[in-house]
């Protein structure tokens, strides 16, 4: 087995920094850990999935605590990191409920965020030397 930068256990501070970077830019945590191929896949596929969801007229849900499911969807949306803030800044993600693609769009946007959360957990495991 070859020893790479990714195989070395990171310090605690570094691990959390890696997780923060991995959340903000999909795939960046893996790049930091020397897993370039995985980084490229995440960097392309996740924002593309998120953008497809917005193109399908999905909605970026608001943090509405009176509606728990809406709040959960908002947290999932936020999971994608920087693309979420870019979309917000561009006033994208208003959602059009009457569009037949609306629910599909929501599924793409929400799942892209959730998948990025899994990617962050994977980066955490790699940084801890578990993978």
């Amino acid at each position: 087995m070859r020893a790479t930068a990714a195989d070395r256990v990171q310090t605690t501070t570094n691990t959390y920094l890696i997780c923060a970077v991995a959340w903000l830019v999909p795939g960046a945590g893996h790049l930091w850990l020397g897993r370039t191929q995985k980084c490229l896949v995440f960097l392309i596929a996740l924002p593309l999935m998120f953008a497809t969801g917005l193109w399908l007229e999905g909605r970026l849900f608001p943090f509405q605590l009176s509606e728990p499911l809406v709040a959960l969807a908002a947290i999932a949306d936020l999971g994608i990191g920087l693309p979420y803030f870019i979309a917000k800044a561009m006033n994208a993600g208003a959602g059009r409920v009457v569009a037949w693609t609306y629910e599909y769009g929501n599924a793409f946007v929400i799942v892209a965020g959730l998948l990025n959360m899994l990617v962050v957990l994977d980066a955490f495991d790699v940084a801890q030397g578990r993978k």
Partner: protein, 57 residues
């Protein structure tokens, strides 16, 4: 691509690519695992669609 089946296939492709990349380290294994996942997602989607056919909402 903008049909129910097309969007389901696109969704399955995205999820398969991410899961395969997460769960396998070698590109060859990723490809094989991703293809199996994708096939499973699409087959399950079509099967469930047909099972739901007699029960329209």
């Amino acid at each position: 691509m903008t049909s129910h089946l097309g969007l389901m296939i696109l969704f399955a492709a995205f999820v398969s690519v991410i899961f395969a990349t997460l769960m396998r380290d070698e590109p060859r294994e990723q490809l094989a695992f991703g293809a199996r996942l994708f096939g499973g997602f699409v087959a399950a989607g079509v099967l469930l669609g047909w099972l739901l056919f007699p029960f329209p909402l």
